[in-house]
């Protein structure tokens, strides 16, 4: 970093944003689908860890990282469907079930993940977009992970689908007014369960990214609350899939400021910088909410805005 001096800071922040934001993006897109249908799933943290573990294990056993991603997606789907099904029961609080899933998912992942702490599994490849540059730093920054590309494409696709397809409209209607959906003859619980399942699937893939790309190994402290942050991120993005992309990049960048400054010799306040995304989210929530109205763009049936 020394030969490019202070330019290393923005570069490192950008590189960090690209690397760190992918799991945020995938998890928040999943949560976005879930919340659009009127449920909130706090269990994404557990699903993320479970996805990371199963992805890593399958990649290690099969030698193919993409099979690992598939396994992580299946694990996430299963946990998401479990959450959705439990919430269909009467008088069951979705936030409480989410915390249950969080415990259950992390417990399962730690339980089965013990043997995989040591071995090295095959990693996902990356797309070198920085080949045009001579500077190795720039090349390192522009290693684009393939899952990020998938995530961005998915965000725009979802945005389009929510506005223009029958399915998107049904999901939004279920989320905004369950009574209206019921009157139209759509099965509210089925739609919500499927949406939670889809959210879990994406969160599982996000977990696979954590263990198979960056940081790129399986350990028990891998996720450190990223699944929960994604919930805040969706609020920050105002339930717009495309905004989730920007929000995820911002969160990733904010998280990378601390290490980047450390690389040019500013070490004090490392932990304070790591709190930057949380302070940012809280500040924006304070600025954006008011006691007289709910958040603009929030699905009407969401328990946290009612």
């Amino acid at each position: 970093m020394t030969d490019i001096g202070w330019w290393g800071v923005p570069l490192a922040v950008l590189g960090g944003a690209i690397r760190v934001s992918t799991p945020f993006l995938l998890v928040s897109l999943g949560e976005c689908i879930t919340e659009k249908s009127g449920r909130i799933n706090l269990g994404l943290e557990g699903i993320l860890v479970m996805g990371a573990m199963s992805g890593y294990a399958v990649s290690y056993l099969s030698g193919n990282p993409w099979l690992g991603v598939l396994a992580a997606a299946c694990a996430g789907l299963a946990l998401g469907l479990l959450h959705g099904t439990l919430c269909n029961l009467p008088r069951v609080n979705d936030i409480a079930v989410g915390i249950g899933i969080m415990l259950f998912g992390t417990g399962l992942a730690f339980y089965f993940g013990k043997p995989y702490v040591q071995p090295q599994a095959p990693m996902l490849p990356s797309i070198p977009l920085g080949a045009w540059s001579d500077s190795p730093q720039i090349q390192a920054v522009l290693q684009i992970p393939p899952l990020l590309v998938i995530g961005v494409v998915l965000a725009f696709a979802l945005d389009w689908a929510f506005r223009n397809t029958r399915w998107g409209l049904v999901v939004r209607m279920v989320g905004d007014s369950a009574d209206a959906a019921r009157a139209m003859g759509y099965p509210v619980n089925v739609v919500r369960t499927l949406c939670t399942g889809a959210g879990g699937l994406l969160a599982g893939i996000g977990g696979a990214f954590l263990s198979l790309y960056y940081p790129g190994s399986w350990s028990e402290g891998l996720s450190s609350g990223q699944g929960l942050m994604a919930v805040a991120l969706v609020i920050f993005a105002r339930w717009q899939p495309v905004h989730c992309v920007y929000a995820a990049l911002l969160f990733g960048g904010a998280g990378a400021v601390g290490p980047a400054l450390q690389s040019v010799g500013i070490t004090s306040g490392y932990y304070l910088f790591s709190a930057a995304p949380y302070v940012l989210t809280l500040g924006i929530m304070i600025a954006a909410s008011s006691p007289r109205r709910t958040l603009a763009g929030a699905p009407g049936e969401l328990s946290i805005v009612r």
Binding site: N93, I99, F104, F110, Y111
Partner: protein, 328 residues
């Protein structure tokens, strides 16, 4: 329970043996009881941090942050006034821990009442901010230069540690937790103020119509909950670690959520549930040694038990599962 048995059988262990070990590890001997009760003390208090705001109709999941900062405040206070008589030091530590923890959670309450910020999310965010602040302070300005490998604040001195309960080998934290719990129960169910909180939680509009100041009631409930969690941090510092370090971030805040939900936010029911959950986690080490199962096994067990209880609420919702005052 049955589900967990199936899970255990599926991974090739005898379910009955596992249950027996969980029992033995948690409640089977004097030593096990001691371990269990020591773990139950912070759980009681963090569960109160969830249950009190829940009585006011809100959902707070940020007890962890109050534990961490309360413990830090207590450790710093204990060091700062370390020369006074031990009783004064202990009282000052408890007051500092409760004040900081209370203010931290009350901030989430104030944001909810005056700015309409969802308290579940803000308390969660505040937890992460608290942990970052804690790490920053413990590794930076407040670090004891003598703690090389594990950054800690300066020790509070052994004279200022909480002693054991008479006749038991369990520290005073359990007694404090139980007292706090019973006091909360009386407060919530047997005083006008507690009734006002429950009215505000049940129907804020009705409460406003009869002239209750809902904002202040809710924030006070948040403050009391946070004070309980801050006290939990103080107890961990004063009875277990002797200084504030990263061992404080042990997930008691999250386990407290579990306890509060199983106890249906009833302060009296929290006591036995906390002991039960404490016993289950205390048995983790035993399972690991005897059956060579990872200690995460108990985490799976807790998660499954919690989900089952939540699901059963739908089926048996009208039964009075937990005796006193559980209202379906």
């Amino acid at each position: 329970m049955l589900l967990f048995g199936v899970f255990v059988a599926a991974v090739g262990k005898d379910p009955l043996e596992v249950y027996q070990l969980i029992y033995a590890g948690g409640f089977g001997s004097g030593f096990a009881w001691q371990n269990t009760l020591s773990r139950a003390a912070p759980l009681i208090l963090t569960a109160l941090c969830v249950a009190l705001p829940a009585q006011a109709g809100t959902m707070v999941i940020g007890a962890e942050g109050a534990v961490v900062l309360g413990g830090l405040a207590a450790a710093v206070t204990g060091y700062a006034v370390g020369d006074a008589s031990p009783l004064v030091v202990k009282l000052a530590m408890a007051a500092a821990g409760m004040l900081i923890g209370g203010l931290w959670i009350a901030a989430a309450g104030a944001l909810r009442q005056y700015r309409g910020v969802n308290e579940t999310i803000s308390s969660l965010l505040l937890t992460y901010i608290a942990i970052a602040l804690f790490n920053h302070l413990v590794e930076g300005p407040l670090r004891d230069p003598a703690s090389l490998n594990k950054p800690s604040t300066p020790p509070i001195g052994s004279a200022n540690m909480l002693g054991a309960l008479p006749g038991l080998d369990v520290h005073w934290g359990l007694g404090l937790g139980a007292i706090f719990c019973i006091a909360t129960y009386v407060l919530i169910y047997h005083t006008t103020w507690g009734f006002a909180i429950r009215v505000a939680g049940g129907n804020a509009r009705a409460a406003r119509l009869v002239g209750l100041s809902v904002d202040r009631l809710v924030i006070a409930a948040f403050f009391l909950g946070g004070a309980a969690a801050g006290l939990a941090g103080m107890i961990e510092v004063a009875a277990v670690h002797g200084s504030a370090n990263a061992s404080l971030i042990a997930g008691y805040g999250y386990a407290g959520i579990l306890v509060a939900f199983i106890a249906r936010h009833n302060p009296l029911a929290i006591l036995p549930v906390a002991v039960l959950v404490g016993g289950i986690s205390a048995s983790g080490g035993m399972l690991q040694r005897r059956l060579d199962m990872p200690d995460a096994t108990v985490l799976v067990f807790q998660g499954l038990a919690f989900l089952t209880i939540l699901a059963s609420e739908a089926l048996y919702g009208r039964l009075k599962l937990f005796g006193h005052g559980a209202r379906a």
